[in-house]
């Protein structure tokens, strides 16, 4: 019926993701040859002098790192697509509208506060990041709103202002408390500094929960594209739906930011490409963005690891270097289509 409801984009994305996963696992400061990789996975690898080292690299370093990057990319792109739908604005992105910075501030506050760590342990950082993300998105939305709509210019302006404010507070906190928050600097640049499986296990439930919710909300997002008023006249409980979507998208952003730092532009580029390639039906756009986001961030992370190997660049630098020009291109494109 609708030709865009085919399965091909999904297959394409899954294939890309598998390839990205494979390269992410195999390539780095040490390259694991495909043969060794296969033997390690199949468990038939006994004996040999090199294998134990490879085993440690694979299972203790590469796999958890790859999993975290994949979850982060999926969460950022999924929430980016959702924010774009919610704000009816193609330039909304967790980074541009300041939500990521808000989540960062929350996370740094939690890192700086021994009390939070005492009561919530591993969960204090993601919980504080979530709170920060939520407060920021509400502030930006409230500030940018003009009547019934959220215009592009005020959205970006409010996002930049609130985001800068949060970033400034974050910097201040980091300057004040030396030592303890030093790791936060690399983290804020978008480097997945933490390692091992624990961050993955903490992030996983948040990301799964929020992304499943967003993936199932495509129809509601489609209805919302006609504006709040028409959406309600079409029978959608608008306020409740928006609250739910904001919660879910902020949860995904917070989960991503709390362990991977602030990584810009993934949430903007990926949904945009998906929309260009496969249309703007949110029932497909959200899951396709999630798959694509995972692949794109894996590729960016791979580049960050090999460009200056054995040095590792924070992945946020790579996404910003590629993403900023892309953002400008989108800006020009939307402007010229408005004028014509």
């Amino acid at each position: 019926m609708d030709k865009r409801l085919t399965i091909r984009p999904y297959l394409l994305n899954i294939l890309l993701l598998l390839l990205a996963l494979l390269f992410s696992i195999a390539v780095g400061a040490v390259v694991i040859p495909p043969g060794v990789l296969a033997r390690l996975f199949l468990g038939s690898a006994t004996g040999g002098d090199i294998l134990p080292a490879f085993r440690t690299i694979l299972f203790q370093l590469r796999l958890p790192h790859t999993a975290l990057v994949m979850l982060t990319g999926a969460a950022l792109a999924g929430s980016g697509a959702a924010y774009q739908g919610l704000f009816r604005n193609p330039l909304a992105d967790p980074y541009l509208i300041g939500v990521a910075s808000g989540a960062g501030l929350g996370a740094v506050l939690a890192m700086a506060s021994p009390l939070a760590a005492h009561f919530l342990g591993m969960f204090s950082v993601p919980a504080a990041a979530f709170l920060g993300a939520l407060l920021t998105v509400l502030a930006v939305y409230w500030l940018a709103r003009s009547g019934k709509f959220v215009p592009t210019t005020t959205l970006i302006l409010a996002g930049v202002a609130v985001g800068s404010f949060a970033s400034a507070l974050t910097s201040f906190l980091m300057l004040r408390s030396q030592g303890e928050l030093h790791r936060a600097i690399a983290w804020l640049l978008g480097g997945t500094t933490s390692s091992g499986w624990q961050p993955v296990l903490v992030t996983l439930p948040y990301v799964i929960l929020s992304l499943v919710l967003l993936s199932l909300s495509g129809h509601a997002l489609n209805v919302l594209q006609f504006g709040d008023e028409q959406a309600q006249q079409l029978g959608l409980p608008v306020e409740r739906t928006k609250a739910l979507l904001i919660l879910a998208a902020s949860l995904a952003t917070a989960a991503a930011v709390s362990f991977s730092g602030i990584i810009g532009f993934v949430g903007l580029i990926v949904p945009h490409l998906a929309r260009l390639l496969w249309g703007s039906d949110y029932r497909r756009l959200i899951p396709l963005s999630i798959l694509g986001g995972a692949s794109v961030l894996l590729i960016a992370d791979l580049l960050a690891r090999v460009i200056l190997a054995p040095e590792e660049l924070p992945v946020g630098i790579v996404t910003a270097l590629a993403g900023a020009p892309f953002f400008l291109w989108v800006l020009r494109r939307t402007r010229s289509s408005r004028e014509s």
């Binding site: 006609f226 008023e229 079409l234 409980p237 249309g279 039906d281």
Partner: protein, 259 residues
């Protein structure tokens, strides 16, 4: 079918609609007329449930709709808004399918019944050949027909239209209103429609409600309402009213001399 009782609506300190009472029967087309800013669009929006009422109530089959959920309400009345700010990259098909929202679950998976109604709505509004086109590529008249198709897909006994002919040429105006009138008769729809053009009102409306400063200043069939005296009071200008040579309905002409 549709009842509006003592409805009062305002924004902040300003009262926009005061004590409006109207009723629209099955199969009837009621036109809302009045000068700019008289509250036509506000009345449509208030009846559709997107504005809070200060006083009064909206009744469907004698029952207050205040406590209905948005979906229950949307199963009773559909709105054809003015074609503005539509998502350009949606296809016509996708757009019309959204009319089924009140009957779909959260996931929005349509069933056989939904597709059947969708097909019917596309056919009835002559938009079937546009199904795969993007909204942004369509002309104003086509967009308006797509919004009508979406409202028909919604399968409601009541239809509210807000200036559906605002940006259409005379051919498309006549075709759209012909269709609206046909649907009212054929599907026994109760139709409340804000219209600017008094001559179209005279041709297509069964009854006319004239709004002036947020109150109903006159109510009746077109012949009763479209008189020089009533119109002069409402619009502040002398208008000449003659009769249509074929139908005997009123025709309103500007007179050239202001009050």
């Amino acid at each position: 079918m549709l009842g509006i009782q003592s409805l009062t609506v305002g924004y902040g300190a300003r009262t926009v609609l005061k004590d409006i009472s109207l009723s629209v029967a099955k199969g009837e087309v009621m036109a809302l007329i009045g000068p700019n800013g008289s509250g036509k669009t506000t009345l449509i929006r208030a009846v559709s449930g997107v504005l809070d009422l200060r006083l009064g109530q909206v009744l469907v089959d004698g029952k207050d709709v205040k406590h209905l959920s948005p979906a229950q309400r949307a199963a009773r009345m559909a709105v054809v808004p003015q074609a503005r700010n539509l998502p350009e990259s949606f296809t016509v098909y996708q757009t019309v399918l959204l009319g089924r929202t009140p009957y779909l679950s959260w996931l929005g998976h349509p069933g056989e019944k939904d597709f059947a109604r969708l097909e019917w709505a596309l056919e009835r509004t002559d938009t079937k050949m546009l199904a795969d086109r993007l909204i942004g590529e369509l002309s104003g008249g086509e967009q308006q027909r797509v919004l009508l198709a979406r409202a028909l897909a919604q399968d409601t006994p009541i239809l509210l239209l807000d200036e559906p002919t605002a940006h259409l040429d005379i051919n498309h105006q006549a075709r759209l209103l012909n269709l609206v009138q046909e649907l009212a008769r054929e599907q026994s729809l109760a139709i409340l429609m804000a219209l600017h053009d008094l001559n179209l009102v005279a041709l297509y409306a069964d009854r006319v409600a004239l709004l002036v400063n947020g109150s109903v200043a006159a109510l009746g069939n077109p012949k009763e309402v479209l008189t020089p005296d009533t119109l002069a009071l409402a619009y502040g200008i002398h208008l000449k009213v003659i009769l249509h040579p074929d139908y005997g309905t009123p025709l309103v002409l500007p007179d050239g001399h202001h009050l």
